[in-house]
């Protein structure tokens, strides 16, 4: 018998029992949809994190010195100069954490960091007005600041105006060009101060640095050299941490990879349950249609004709379920992602794997009932009521 005939026969039989077929498919639909949605969401989550790391600058290396011997700004400067082939700029990075910014009446909280004049190059800062912090600002601990466009807009301050940061007066000497949509918590919601000023007001030592590696290919080598230097300078590799966007991205990718494996595994269990559902209903269907099988056998159906009839029915059921699952998964991924603040994308790999698995489930779980049907004795089957 031709394959096309078997397919038509299978579709007819599935359509003859619409509700039952749909309920049978439901397990597969849910499983496939879950795989696609979860892969999409984890993908969106991972993209989110990766892009926020990219904002840190792909070719910068951040250093945190936590304990051990002090590493001064001069030490880092010397190191960067010595390895000029890797490092083209450095800046201390003194964070005030979330500081309160106030003009006369309005106030907001934002991330304030103390940097030197090279931060302009390292963070690729472009100014809409005024100038960036200069060497002399740092040397003489001037109370000047460069603000992001979001802050300028929110607090309605312009060049030359005075604002208060944690109560201290600062003059606005530069306003950053809008770069990141001009919203809160974006790259436009920042304040830069001279690092010396920040360190003194915060009564803190300089312990964080940011170094620029011009050549992205050298970034791993550069962080190795830096690490060797800091082991010597601080006394132990436990006394500092080196964070590059690259390394963080790698870590996050590893993490989300594991996460998606676990989630897909859970979704896989639901596919398995769906497969068992298919097997169950196929066994019922074989029993119900024992007489039909007997009739078909008596007029000349061979074992493989009966086998392929039921196997194809199982495969068509689960493949149809798979397709519906893909439709549901693809349809829900994006809105669910939005709900969770993620940009979920439907992964073609996940779609093709999910479809392949669902068709495979039809074969695996349809095989046993189909074999049972094929092996029925025609006399007993004909006599079955």
């Amino acid at each position: 018998m031709k394959l096309l005939q078997s397919l038509i026969m299978a579709l007819k039989s599935i359509l003859a029992n619409k509700l039952r077929s749909f309920l049978t498919m439901l397990g597969i639909i849910i499983g496939v949809a879950a795989v696609i949605i979860l892969v999409g969401l984890v993908g969106g989550f991972s993209n989110n994190i990766t892009s926020s790391f990219a904002r840190l600058g792909a070719n910068t290396i951040n250093v945190m010195i936590m304990r051990g011997k002090t590493v001064t700004v001069k030490d880092i400067e010397g190191f960067a100069l010595e390895h000029g082939e890797f490092f083209s700029a450095y800046t201390p990075n003194v964070s005030m954490g979330n500081a309160t910014i106030k003009n006369r009446t309005d106030s907001l909280t934002t991330n304030v960091s103390g940097v030197n004049e090279l931060a302009e190059q390292i963070d690729s800062i472009e100014l809409a007005a005024g100038r960036f912090i200069c060497y002399l600002d740092c040397e003489s601990q001037r109370r000047v600041c460069v603000i992001g466009s979001y802050i300028a807009k929110e607090l309605a301050v312009g060049l030359g105006d005075s604002i208060r940061i944690n109560g201290y007066h600062f003059d606005v000497i530069g306003i950053k060009e809008q770069k990141d949509g001009g919203t809160a918590s974006s790259a436009d919601d920042v304040v830069y101060l001279p690092y010396t000023t920040t360190a003194r007001l915060g009564r803190s030592q300089v312990s964080n640095y940011k170094l620029l590696v011009e050549d992205l290919n050298k970034i791993n080598e550069a962080s190795d050299i830096l690490s060797d230097y800091l082991v010597e300078a601080t006394g132990s590799e436990n006394n500092f941490r080196i964070i590059s966007a690259q390394a963080m991205t790698d870590t996050v990718n590893e993490l989300t990879g594991t996460l998606s494996l676990v989630l897909v595994g859970i979704a896989g269990i639901s596919l398995l349950v769906g497969g068992i559902g298919i097997m169950n209903i196929m066994i019922v269907s074989v029993t119900e249609r024992t007489r039909e099988i007997g009739i078909r056998k008596s007029i000349g159906a061979k074992q493989r004709d009966i086998m392929s009839q039921f196997l194809i029915e199982a495969i068509v059921t689960s493949a149809l379920g798979g397709m519906l699952g893909i439709a549901v998964g693809a349809g829900l991924s994006v809105p669910l992602g939005k709900l969770m603040g993620l940009t979920a994308a439907v992964s073609p790999t996940a779609v093709s794997i999910a479809f392949g698995v669902s068709a495979g489930i039809g074969i695996i779980f349809g095989y046993f009932p189909a074999l049972r049907a094929a092996r029925l004795n025609p006399i007993d089957a004909l006599r079955y009521e």
Partner: protein, 230 residues
């Protein structure tokens, strides 16, 4: 055409053996119309199952159309049922969700006949039993007599050597039952070999030859005088 040489069929029922067929030798020529008659339990159903290649003898030989079919694989038996035999059952045994035409096409489907030829041959076969106007009906929309005619059309469609009718009138009233028997007789006159299994004497005597089974043995064989007068 059909040759039974000392055929036995023995079922093991617990401790003792039941001889459903106990040394049956039977010869049926091409073009004959033979009825096999007997009370229930006489072994006629077993006989029919073996003639129909649905079952195999425990001992003895069954030669169908010159070929020993006593011990073939299930696929070879399926092939023989498909091409050499046509079945007419008491319960019609039509597939309920297929329409009349599809039911009649089914044996050809398993032969791998192309759809155009299937359609043509099924229509021809249904015309033979006067059901050309019911092609798209489902079996449930037909009367019992009509359903039995569909099953005769299905038996005819693969141009079998033998048509096996197993109590074909059992579910019909006597008038419709007689119509079915008349149809079988007509087919016989056209050259089809027919084996009719029944427990009703008045139907059995309408065949050309009657074979009586009792306790798995042939107890009587007679040629009917009236057979030519139809």
């Amino acid at each position: 055409m059909i040759d039974f040489c000392d055929v036995y069929k023995i079922y093991q029922m617990g401790d003792y053996a039941v001889h459903a067929l106990d040394g049956v030798s039977l010869h049926i020529e091409e073009g004959e119309f033979v009825s096999i008659v007997g009370a229930s339990g006489s072994g006629k159903s077993t006989c029919m199952n073996i003639i129909g290649c649905l079952d195999e003898p425990s001992y003895g030989q069954y030669i169908l159309n010159g070929r020993d079919v006593s011990h073939l694989s299930s696929n070879e038996l399926a092939n023989i049922r498909n091409r050499m035999l046509g079945f007419v059952f008491q319960q019609y045994n039509l597939i309920a969700k297929l329409n009349v035409l599809e039911n009649v096409e089914l044996p050809l489907l398993y032969q791998g006949v192309s759809s155009a030829e299937r359609h043509a041959r099924a229509c021809e076969s249904l015309a033979r039993v006067d059901l050309s106007d019911k092609l798209k009906n489902l079996p449930s929309q037909l009367s019992g007599g009509q359903q039995q005619r569909v099953s005769i059309a299905r038996a005819l469609v693969s141009q079998p050597k033998v048509i096996l009718a197993d109590e074909p009138t059992g579910a019909l009233d006597s008038k419709t039952g007689q119509d079915v028997i008349n149809l079988l007789r007509q087919l016989n006159q056209e050259g089809h070999t027919i084996v009719l299994i029944t427990h009703e004497e008045n139907l059995a005597v309408q065949a050309k030859r009657m074979v009586r089974l009792s306790d798995g043995k042939i107890v009587e064989q007679c040629v009917m005088e009236n057979s030519a007068s139809f």
